[in-house]
């Protein structure tokens, strides 16, 4: 899949997944890899940036097996930012789909 598509949508996907459920880095990497192939390591700089921008917050939680894990959770501002990203994406994908329609049938 095209690298440029992925870069543009990654922030959106990360915020979407975290807004549905708090998760730790490894978990998030697995969830995204199920559908989109990425270098999982680049998620961490992204998560760090989103946290610095105050769209995500972190906390540590104990786990029965293994080390305590750093969970990411979305903030209120993060929810608002996510909303605007979703709207942008929807407008964008509608436009692209229209171009495809016209291009292949026009």
């Amino acid at each position: 899949m095209n690298v440029q598509f992925k870069k543009g949508a990654l922030e959106l996907c990360v915020l979407l997944l975290i807004s549905q459920q708090d998760q730790y880095g490894y978990e998030l990497a697995q969830n995204i890899s199920k559908k989109i192939q990425i270098a999982e390591g680049t998620l961490y700089p992204l998560l760090r940036r989103l946290t610095k921008e105050k769209w995500l917050t972190t906390y540590f939680a104990e786990s029965k097996e293994g080390p305590s894990r750093k969970y990411y959770s979305i903030t209120e501002e993060g929810e608002r930012h996510l909303q605007s990203l979703v709207e942008e994406w929807e407008h964008f994908s509608i436009a692209v789909n229209q171009f495809i329609e016209e291009g292949t049938h026009g």
Partner: protein, 184 residues
Amino acid sequence: MDRQSFMEKLENHLKPLSEDERKEVLYDFHEHFEIGKLEGKGEHDISDELGHPKAIAKDHLTYHHISKAEEQHSISNITRATFSTISLSLLNILFVLGPFLGIAGVYLGLVIASITLTGSPIILLIAASFDTIVSFWPSLFLSLIAAGLGLLLCIAMIHLGRFLYRHLVNYMKFNLSIVKGGRS
């Protein structure tokens, strides 16, 4: 590569960061390897899935440089942030370096002009000590006016400098968000 090599390479490329920041960044990967190991995944597989330590470090550093330039205004910070942003993509050479050099050039020119104007009375007095100047007194008064204008220009340049600095940082964040995707 194995976990040790991955972590060493990553740590090496993160040298520009402060020790605290570097520790925080490395922690994330330590946690990732630990959990992967628990799930029975081999170090080499985990490392392959993570990608290249150098690329990961680059992402961290670029954002770090930009946010540092934002918090601590200085010429070295903004220069580092500019070149770090540029290294993200070739397109940025056009869209960041170009405007940066252009604006820096104009700004520098105006600063030199303001210093010269402010110093004109002194220049005049030095010239007068070497040779008599025709219509000295009118020239002196004119140079004092020029100095006054120069001082005003100096003050304007200080304000303009702060304004440009702030906006250059914002422009780079904007560029970063285009390359990395999503808004910043």
